[in-house]
């Protein structure tokens, strides 16, 4: 530990040093204030030190993105192992205890280590660009929020790393909901480590949320008002509000659970607060959490989908209002996760009412997206395909949610695969889809390259077909009564249709591998295109200027290209889209328009083939 302190001292001394000698730096002794010496012209250090010390929102966005992708891959591997096990009713490939551990890790990884961070990646990179800010309001807090995540992940996964070691620490088997008394009584220290890790990621999310709220309130550019704030920033703002009110609660509940586990308190013990208390606290956080994940993704789709429909987002204001409505309502529905827990039926009924009500703003959004497409000039680029897939999957995911919110239906389907199907239509079919769409859409800005169009389409179709095979057969299994979270289903065929269930499980596994295959195609495409793809010289790769839908982020990109001397000359870069009438050469297209809408670009066709 002492050596560690010395090492850190050396690191600090070294990094402080390069700043002191940065070109143009003022003499710190002369200026007196300790921060003045930062005013030297910005030269980033190189290599790993640059990434360890950066407080630039774009770098941090890239860090968040890389982190999210790594988590996504681990979560995917975990679930494919589980799916292989489930091709047969008995336990063949892995022990049930390992199955439970993978299940827990998959859920927590995907929600906390992939979902929340991947949104933070887009928000960090693009919200400042979209609102015309120089950076986040608190750049250093931004860096702290990111750096809390890697140790968080190491702690959450710690139990897996210790499997080969001769210690008595294993992966947690609590499932992501960590229900007491199970979670309070498992003696495995891996559970404590996981909860500490979760606590860290919660602190991280809260810091990030405070930063986004401050940024959007105080750092907007001169001509960015509340009236023309873009839809993505609106959803990030709402999401940050939800985080602010829910994550600290999760953090506190986790600490109470840790105290129960290690210090003999009785918050969630039967003789104390009772196990149901955990469920209330957890879901008071847990339901807003699902909207924390989906709202910004809805914002991304609302931003990108119009660009490829050639029309402004239909009913912009109502999309904003519905976002706010969902934000508020999402705190009033948590007990729909507990209908079977023996609550007072009158309370239960009121939660059913609020849950059904949340379908209204959700449907408003759906109709707005569909209306935006209506009579539009649709161009099926990869980002657009993912947006349309998103809307389609929301119809299934949302409606199954409404069914589940009806108490009589819920009591039958609760804890079956129907629930798993419902929320995976949303978390995979929407959250991951919007993420992929946004990655394709902004790939030129972040990497300066263009991705490979054909591979992207393979990725989409494999994912879309895979999602619908996998999760629709889960809905069917739910109707057959297959309970969720079991490693085996070797029940008596006289009690339930075992053959059908087994077949559906195999179909589900097949679909999951289609998704896995699509993901590999995506990974290859991104890595290879980033490394070797053609450099982008066209500041409007999606051809959005023509429709007056050029966003601020691409205007920024244009400045960037111009500054680097990479901007295509008028007859060079423009030549490729001549066919599509790139007549609108207003330097920053529609971005001054009241509602900032995105539009379309046939870009994909032109940016890809030839580069100069």
């Amino acid at each position: 530990m002492g050596a560690l302190l010395v090492g850190i001292g050396a690191f600090l001394a070294r990094t402080e040093n390069w700043r002191a000698y940065a070109p143009l730096a003022g003499d710190p002794a002369a200026t007196g204030g300790s921060h003045e010496h930062e005013q030297g012209h910005g030269h980033k250090p190189s290599g790993i030190i640059r990434w360890l010390t950066t407080v630039d929102h774009k770098d941090i966005g890239v860090l968040y993105g890389t982190y999210g992708v790594i988590a996504f891959l681990w979560g995917g591997v975990a679930v494919l192992l589980m799916r292989l096990e489930l091709t047969t009713p008995t336990s063949t490939l892995i022990e049930p205890s390992l199955y439970n551990a993978l299940l827990t890790s998959h859920g927590i990884t995907m929600l906390f280590l992939f979902g929340t961070p991947i949104i933070a990646a887009f928000a960090n990179y693009f919200v400042p660009l979209l609102i015309g800010a120089d950076d986040m309001a608190f750049p250093r807090i931004n860096a702290i929020a990111f750096w809390l995540l890697p140790p968080g992940a190491l702690l959450i996964w710690a139990g897996f790393f210790t499997i080969p070691l001769p210690v008595d620490i294993g992966p947690a088997q609590t499932s992501w909901t960590m229900y007491a008394p199970l979670s309070a009584q498992q003696p495995n220290p891996g559970v404590d480590l996981m909860m500490l890790g979760l606590h860290l990621t919660g602190v991280s999310a809260t810091m990030g949320a405070i930063n986004f709220i401050a940024t959007i309130f105080t750092e907007r550019g001169e001509n960015v008002t509340w009236a023309n704030l873009d839809i993505f920033s609106w959803t990030v703002l709402t999401q940050s509000g939800l985080i602010l009110f829910s994550f600290p609660l999760l953090g506190s509940a986790l600490i109470m659970l840790l105290l129960d586990r290690n210090f003999g308190t009785t918050f969630f013990a039967v003789e104390g607060g009772g196990p149901i208390l955990w469920q209330h606290l957890f879901w008071f956080f847990g339901h807003p959490e699902v909207y924390i994940l989906v709202l910004p993704m809805m914002g991304l789709v609302s931003w990108i989908l119009p660009k490829f429909a050639g029309r402004k987002l239909f009913g912009f204001k109502f999309v904003v209002y519905s976002t706010l409505a969902i934000g508020v309502l999402s705190f009033g529905v948590w007990a729909h996760h507990m209908f079977g827990s023996g609550m007072d039926p009158r309370i239960r009924a009121s939660f059913m009412a609020t849950s059904l009500a949340i379908a209204i703003p959700s449907a408003v959004k759906t109709f707005n997206w569909i209306t935006t497409l209506w009579n539009g000039r649709i161009r099926l680029t990869a980002p657009m395909l993912f947006c349309i897939g998103f809307v389609s999957n929301f119809v299934l995911g949302g409606i199954t949610g409404v069914f589940l919110a009806a108490i009589p239906v819920n009591l039958v389907l609760h804890e079956t695969y129907y629930v798993v199907g419902h929320f995976h239509y949303i978390v995979m079919g929407m959250i991951a889809f919007a993420g992929f769409g946004a990655i394709y859409y902004w790939f030129p800005i972040v990497t300066g390259k263009m991705y490979q169009k054909t591979l992207a389409k393979w990725h989409f179709w494999l994912s879309m077909i895979g999602v619908n095979i996998t999760f629709f057969s889960m809905l069917l299994m739910g109707y057959l009564g297959m309970p969720r979270r079991y490693a085996t289903y070797d029940f008596n065929p006289a009690l339930a249709p075992l053959a059908s269930v087994e077949l559906l499980h195999q179909v589900t596994t097949f679909g999951a591998f289609l998704i896995g295959l699509g993901t590999l195609v995506w990974l290859w495409n991104i890595v290879q295109s980033w490394a070797e793809g053609p450099e982008i010289t066209d500041p409007d790769p999606w051809n959005t200027k023509r429709d007056g839908l050029h966003g601020r982020e691409f205007a920024w990109f244009e400045e960037q290209l111009a500054a680097d001397g990479k901007l295509a000359t008028t007859d060079g870069g423009e030549a490729s889209d001549a066919s599509r009438g790139s007549s609108e050469l207003r330097s920053d297209g529609g971005e001054a328009d009241e509602e900032q809408l995105a539009t379309d670009g046939d870009a994909e066709e032109q940016a890809q083939p030839t580069d100069d």
């Binding site: 402080e16 930062e38 005013q39 120089d134 860096a143 702290i144």
Partner: protein, 138 residues
């Protein structure tokens, strides 16, 4: 809000880096793990890194001119917290506190660890303000 931050006025004239965030994080992580599992070298290191780097980052961001007073304040706060934790397990005056230190009681040990780390941080702050300022900053 942006106005009182130096970088808001000269966004492109800085290297957009800071060595402190990773240290703050390391401090938080080691303190949490150390305190939960009662590993006092880990807790003390973690708390020292945490208090030190918070003082450092606040100074670097321009919210304070010198880190020392904040370091003393944070250290003192941890002394109070640590003693409160000990106090939750003992009744009576000074003697019973001293007694408790000898006891094999995990909670008391954690309390004393926190208090000791805070005391070291505060001490470093006091010493720093008397010596480093004079030498480095004149």
């Amino acid at each position: 809000m942006g106005a009182d931050r130096p970088e808001a006025t000269a966004p492109d004239r800085r290297d957009k880096t800071s060595p402190w965030p990773v240290v703050v994080v390391l401090g938080i992580v080691l303190s949490e793990v150390g305190i939960l599992f009662n590993l006092y070298p880990v807790s003390v290191t973690g708390l020292l890194l945490f208090t030190g780097s918070v003082a450092g980052i606040v100074t670097e961001a321009g919210y304070a001119v010198r880190p020392w007073r904040l370091l003393v304040g944070l250290g003192a706060a941890f002394v109070v917290v640590g003693l409160l934790i000990v106090g939750s397990q003992v009744d009576g005056g000074l003697a019973s506190y001293l007694d408790a230190a000898a006891r094999d009681d995990g909670i008391v040990q954690r309390g004393y660890t926190v208090a000791a780390a805070g005391a070291i941080a505060a001490l470093v702050g006091i010493v720093g303000s008397r010596t480093v300022d004079r030498v480095v900053f004149r």
